[in-house]
Assembly symmetry: C2
Homo-oligomer: 207 residues x 2
């Protein structure tokens, strides 16, 4: 694993704010798939009993606005923020599962196979030791049977820049400086993304 | 930069707590190099005027205790915790500077050239936009002239496991679960290290 350090450069798509909706063509579809916290917990318990640990994969997608990197987030019912992604099927690889979820939640067409998504490196992993809400960036000592693992991957924005988002969600570009350590609004995983990205220098792509 | 994700495995040295001091032979030397916050700020301002941005390099060194990764930290006067490292000389590379600092602060002998240290990947970078204490894992918008950049590297513990630490410092192994998000005790950079390491699976080396 130890290798000679090399400069990490990540190329992001430049946008001006007024262009965000026009350049990223966002439409709504009828997919929903949203749970309340209570129904989610109940669902998680049933799934854990049936299938064991739940593994989720989520995408960090970046655009450049005002020369500052912005993170693409899905907002559910004006309150909950999510990284695009979701749960793996049994036996499914991280990359295949993430491409499937991106094709379903953000794709240019509803029948997309996900091939337009280029999944990059794993930036971090978060563990949920029980059915409560707290997650940790390590497996806490003495936890033998974690209930959930969430892996966060860096994903390159496809050239098409056309998105169809689920009907009850909005796609937002939020500046990294707003997300950073803002646990209350964005939750632990999203608010930690700026740290996970801190090793990269951001280069804009001329479009 | 985008590459196919591969499993990240980091091998750590296993220790039992009672072995920590005996297996990691820790001695004191007479190096000091410690500043109060006020004298540090004054020094930073003078150095910035003379040489521009200050670049520091710091090392993340891990050992395994009770099957949980522990971070090696230097404690100054029973209060301030630091990752081993320090400021680069003008024109010095990150790796050379970090090896020099590790040789000076932790080396098996005071004349060490640092060649026993294997510096791995850059885990993160932190920016200080002004002479105040807050640092950010990105260059905040509209900051044209940051005053300091701190780069954190993963470093493999050398086989020798003998350390000579500066006289006024103690070498501690602190569990990741204690460091995580504990800004008040460990400061922003150290308390964020567990997140930066979260992509790794930790494998113990049989010793």
């Amino acid at each position: 694993m130890i290798c000679h350090p090399s400069p990490n450069i990540f190329k992001t798509l430049p946008l001006r704010r007024k262009e965000f909706k026009s350049r990223l063509h966002i439409e709504k579809n009828n997919h929903s798939g949203v749970f309340t916290t209570a129904s989610r917990n109940s669902c998680t318990k049933k799934n854990y009993a049936a299938r064991g640990i739940r593994t989720s994969v989520e995408a960090v997608l970046l655009v450049e606005l005002f020369k500052h990197p912005h993170l693409l987030l899905l907002q559910v019912r004006n309150s909950i923020y999510k990284l695009p992604g979701g749960r793996l099927r049994p036996g499914e690889s991280d990359v295949d599962g993430l491409k499937r979820k991106l094709a379903r939640k953000l794709s240019v067409n509803e029948d997309g196979d996900g091939s337009e998504w280029e999944v990059g490196e794993c930036l971090g992993m978060w563990w949920r030791p029980d059915f409560e809400t707290l997650v940790y960036p390590f497996l806490p000592p003495n936890v033998k049977q974690p209930k959930e693992c969430t892996k966060v991957f860096l994903v390159k924005l496809p050239a098409s820049r056309k998105f169809i988002v689920p009907k009850n969600m909005r796609l937002l570009a939020v500046p990294l400086c707003q997300v950073h350590e803002n646990h209350k609004t964005y939750g632990q995983i999203i608010s930690g993304v700026p740290q996970l990205l801190s090793k990269f220098s951001f280069n804009m792509i001329e479009s």
